[in-house]
Amino acid sequence: MSVLTLLTEYLSRPMVRNALIVGTLIALCASLLGTTIVLKRLSFIGDGLSHVAFGALCIAMVFSLTDKMIVVLPITVLVAVILMGTNDNKKIKGDAAVAMLSVGALAFGYLLLNKFPGRGNNNISGDVCSTLFGSMSIMTLSNTDVILCIALSVIVVIFFIVFYNRIFSVTFDENFAAATGIRNTLYKLLLSVIIAVVIVLSMQLVGSLLISALIVFPVLSSQRIFRSFLSVVISSAALGVSCAVIGILASIIFSTPIGATVVCVNILVFAICFVFGKLFFRK
């Protein structure tokens, strides 16, 4: 059977279509927010938050909750708000605080899960592995999951478009924005909430260890080639989405793990952009 017929075969299945929709939307949101996160030098916060989300997920598993989002989302949002807010606090430097928190959450979560495995759970290492590296759960999405994901993505995209100019200003020069009466703290707060939501969403696709890749790679690739903020934003959204589609399809065809495949496609695109940028755009 040729690759094309194989693809059409798979695409006719609703679960593959759902996975594609959700995957694309997650990649879109992650890469949009990625521009702010990367340019504001907050990449490590995204990474730290994903570990916190893992810890929270472990707690949810221990209590055998059917809807784990009830625990994971609030905890991650709370930590995001705290981390973004205390960025200028000099008691413990931001990066060290994040490092502490992320390793702490990882260890605590794993310990908890080992000590108190939830009801009817006898495959701990399998569970841990799938939360860390993403699982096939994206293939078993219910319709409510898909609708929730679409709704959240629409909110993120609308937020980004409506506040685009404010986001630019706060990203480029926070001090100037604050001095000329832009409500910095408010936008930072909103941003951190949304970053947390996107991270929790993307855990389904690539797992908590690989989330940063969705956030960081599309922006870095775009930065090799484009020189204005708007073009970097548009291009990283486009790159993020196409990498997700290619990655998901490739993982179906070659039956490889979805998360890792998507990330590898991102790395490949980065390499291409890097070479392309060196050849044509740098002095």
């Binding site: 030098r41 020069d173 100037f176 970097v232």
Partner: protein
């Protein structure tokens, strides 16, 4: 009524006072130099005027219908990221943000304002260029244009010529002087450059460990012969 007036102002950080009992009065069209040694509290005072930090004691009042958010600000260069992908136009336009109110996007009026600011600072031909590719002097002019977009009244400049070559320094000083004279925009500048202060300032505020002195340039030149305090 003065545009900005400080009475008995003390500034500091983490509850430690670095400079106290600072008095000054700035009127429309003034050109004030804030001078003093490193760590004397110049930049902190500036942040207090901008409302980014709180004064430890005393108060700063704004008159002549000046609102705090109407003060244009040129930060110390270290705050700006060197590899940020943004065009000159995008950056200058972002200075108009405080005039948007609840509107999400820039309209014709803001774009025109940005256009004019770029013309005043002679960077119109750089509009489509990317900020990180520009020279230090050009970058400062871009940020100055952005500050000009944010205000029609007062510009606060934090060591604007630091790290620039002499030619670029002179060019920037001339442009700032022109803005001060032609647009009647009040200039408040933090600087180490006493020579330039003697040349351009109308008033000088010296912040020292023992005491701070506020005077006009003539008093400054007469009493000190222009030498350091």
């Amino acid at each position: 009524m003065a545009q900005i007036k400080g009475t008995g102002v003390s500034v500091g950080y983490e509850k430690k006072i670095v400079a106290d009992n600072i008095n000054f009065e700035i009127n429309e069209g003034d050109y004030l130099y804030i001078v003093g040694e490193n760590g004397s509290g110049k930049s902190t005072l500036m942040k207090c005027i901008l409302g980014l930090e709180k004064v430890v004691a005393g108060n700063i009042v704004y008159g002549d219908n000046l609102k705090q958010k109407e003060i244009g600000y040129l930060p110390q260069q270290t705050f700006i990221q060197r590899d940020f992908p943004a065009t000159v136009q995008e950056i200058v336009l972002s200075g108009c943000l405080n005039q948007l109110g609840f509107r999400p996007f820039f309209g014709k009026k803001e774009k025109q304002r940005a256009e004019e600011a770029m013309k005043k600072l002679e960077i119109t031909d750089l509009a489509k260029r990317s900020y990180p590719e520009l020279s230090g002097g050009q970058q400062q002019r871009v940020l100055l244009a952005r500050a000009l977009c944010a205000t029609g009244k007062v510009l606060l400049l934090d060591e604007p010529v630091a790290g620039l070559d002499p030619y670029a320094q002179e060019q920037l000083y001339t442009l700032i002087y022109k803005i001060n004279k032609e647009e009647k925009i009040t200039i408040i500048m933090v600087s180490h450059d006493l020579e330039a202060a003697k040349k351009y300032a109308t008033h000088i505020l010296h912040i020292g460990k023992e005491k701070s002195v506020f005077c006009t340039k003539h008093e400054f030149l007469k009493e000190n012969g222009g030498c350091l305090f």
